[in-house]
Amino acid sequence: MLQIDHLTTADAKVTLDDVSFVFEAGKIYTILGRTGAGKTELLRALMGLNPLTVGTVKLDEEDITERPIRARNMSLVYQQFINYPHLSVLDNVAFPLRRQGKDKAEAHALAGQMLTTVGLGEFLQRRPAQLSGGQQQRVALARAMVKQSRILMLDEPLANLDYKLREQLREEFPRLVADNVESVILYTTTEPREAMELGNTMIVMHDGRVIASGAPADLFAHPPTKDTASVISDPPISFISGFVRDNCLYFSEGHLAPSEGLLLPADGPVTIALRPDAIEPDGAFNAQIGLSEFSGSQTIIHLDFDFGRAIMMVDGIEAFTAGNDISVSIRSEHIMLFAPDGGNITLRNNQNG
């Protein structure tokens, strides 16, 4: 178990602000946040590379805050594929074992096994430069995993890979790390889908703080704050400044919003959040099509309403012409409401969850 309490740093590009969390071994934690949210800083603080102004790091109840990096039992895989160019693939992975004092035969045997797990069993004698990007990143992953460190950290490990390679490694990742039952696995990413697909627990960071955590599907269905909803929605969630009056929800004066089944807060301004699945073609709301684009198998339609902009997503590849008018319906069960002015309090979640 890894426990961090009140981690706070100064003097970094992004400073950590009172980050506390308890991580359990054998689970994958995805840390989701935009560039500059503090994801890498958190990993660096765990390794002891960023000096803490406040805070403690405990591994199995033992305080390791002051321990030097070498003695922390951690491994890190970077975004860039970092391997020893002059060593064979096998020696790259055997290297940390040799440093631990294992003899050559044992180190080679363990490294060979690990390389077979990551699908590189036939490339043991190659040099890293003779491999593709995806294969090089697997070598780095194998080297990090072979040590069986208690803490395995991966800092946007797939960011530099082609889209399709990313898709493949994402699919394989849970199997690759399945043997590391003693390790806490921390995986940072800027991609909401990746964080949801890979994490047993998802941790959302913003401005150097942890703003939400939980099971990915739950967090997606019930984001506790507006910032969380914003960070985990891709395509983006749309926010419209509306208000509640006499137990009715309005997008703006004269534009009543659907609210069947919603428990509305007291009169006053609210932020109405619409995910792309809250809007469907045909209905009582008129909008102008700002732009229509395909995303894989879906069509994303940017709509300009009298009361603001929002995005609709429909399955399949369909032609929507920019500039045309369209009527749409908005489904109340997919509406989320937030406090209007940075309060970031969910006033009412959608009813179906």
């Binding site: 935009r34 560039t35 593709s132 990007g133 082609d162 889209y163 399709k164 390679l165 898709e167 800027t190 991609e191 909401p192 889908r193 949801m196 697909e197 990915p216 599907a217 997606f220 269905a221 914003s230 985990i232 929605s233 891709d234 395509p235 983006p236 995910r275 792309p276 699945d277 700002g290 732009l291 684009e293 395909f294 995303s295 894989g296 198998s297 994303i300 940017h302 997503m313 399955d315 399949g316 590849i317 032609a319 920019a322 969850g353």
Partner: protein
């Protein structure tokens, strides 16, 4: 502005190419209309950057000709092609203000100060950067810096085309979305031809009027996003376009028809030899998962459910150990281990013969 024609255009980095495999770009014929958006899509090493570099003039092709509006520009240097280029990482003058960055290409051409002021103002409005004109360029975010790189191309009124070499790589997902929208708007408003190089199929699909899919230096298919999605010409395009890839299910020849135990979809009898590999290609989006009835074309047990937000991907095992993936928004109501009925429209099941579309 220009119509761009690639006429039997190919390139080998070797002085004396022996065969097809010596070409980084195998000879290709393509015509790109003025004012449209195009994407060159493929994995690393597919030849897309070589193609872009030939168009910009950074590489002289070993074979064929390149025409801008009918004029042969194959051997004309980059500086005379009126091409603007945006690279993976923003290239800006970090010590200058946004205004100075945008004005620079015009100053170099000796344009009058009053005209420069006018053009810079127009382009800043187009990019939504009016408010930032007097800020130092280094203070801007990555996506804004990319807009400035683009703006330096747009200020020139004689620009033939804008080439974009993976310009969204360093941008966060949500900002990518907005920047893509901006690029489309700029294309609509200015009518400048834009050519984007990318390995990201979803980026290509959302950006381009037409996509050129490449692999190993060879053109695989060129067409609209709809065409590539609904009728991939070969199994590579079926794999590369779409996420997850197209499901490919092997078929057996049985009494003159093609069939599989996994799905009760048959195809007419093949005329060619039985030794060839026939497959059924079905997009994960075209598989609907329903309660079991006698009408279903198949039955599958749920092995895995991946939550990706609004959508989910469901992995199912069908008869004969066939594993397929389906994309759905109803995944939150499903659970692993349950058996579902499977429906597929006959039109959405495409026949492939040795990896090539046969229907």
């Amino acid at each position: 502005m220009a119509k761009i024609v690639l006429e039997n255009l190919g390139h080998s980095y070797l002085a004396d190419p022996k065969g097809e495999h010596d070409f980084a770009l195998k000879p290709v014929n393509l015509t790109w209309q003025d004012g449209k958006t195009y994407a060159l899509l493929g994995p690393s090493g597919c030849g897309k950057t070589t193609m872009l570099n030939i168009i910009s003039g950074l590489v002289a092709p070993s074979h064929g000709r390149l025409l801008f509006d009918g004029k042969d520009v194959t051997n004309i240097p980059t500086s005379e092609r009126n091409i603007a280029q945006v690279f993976q990482f923003p290239v800006i003058y970090s010590t200058k203000t946004v205004r100075q960055n945008l004005a620079f290409p015009l100053e170099c051409r000796g344009v009058s100060p009053s005209r420069i002021r006018q053009r810079v103002a127009e382009v800043a409005t187009l990019l939504d950067l009016d408010y930032a004109l007097d800020m130092p360029a280094r203070k801007l975010s990555a996506d804004q810096k990319q807009l400035i790189s683009l703006g330096r191309g747009l200020v020139r009124e004689d620009v033939s085309a804008i080439l974009l070499d993976e310009p969204l790589t360093v941008i966060d997902p949500q900002m990518k979305f907005m920047l893509r929208r901006k690029l489309r708007e700029i294309n609509r408003q200015t009518g400048v031809t834009m050519i984007l190089v990318t390995h990201d199929q979803s980026e290509a699909m959302s950006f381009a009027d037409e996509i050129v899919v490449m692999k190993d230096g060879l053109l695989q298919q060129s067409g609209t996003p709809e065409e590539l999605f609904s009728r991939p010409q070969n199994d590579f395009v079926g794999y590369f376009i779409g996420s997850p890839p197209m499901n490919m299910i092997n078929l057996d020849v049985r009494q003159g028809t093609l069939a599989t135990d996994a799905l009760s979809l048959t195809q007419p009898s093949p005329s060619e030899s039985n030794a060839l590999l026939y497959q059924l290609g079905i997009r994960p989006e075209h598989i609907s998962l329903v309660d079991q009835t006698a009408e279903n074309v198949g039955v599958g047990t749920i092995k895995k459910i991946e939550h990706l937000g609004v959508d989910g991907i469901v992995t199912l095992e069908l008869a004969a150990n066939v594993v397929i993936k389906a994309k759905t928004r109803k995944h939150t109501a499903m659970s692993v281990g349950t058996t579902m009925g499977i429906n597929v429209c006959q039109d959405d099941a495409l026949l492939y013969l040795d990896g090539r579309l046969a229907t």
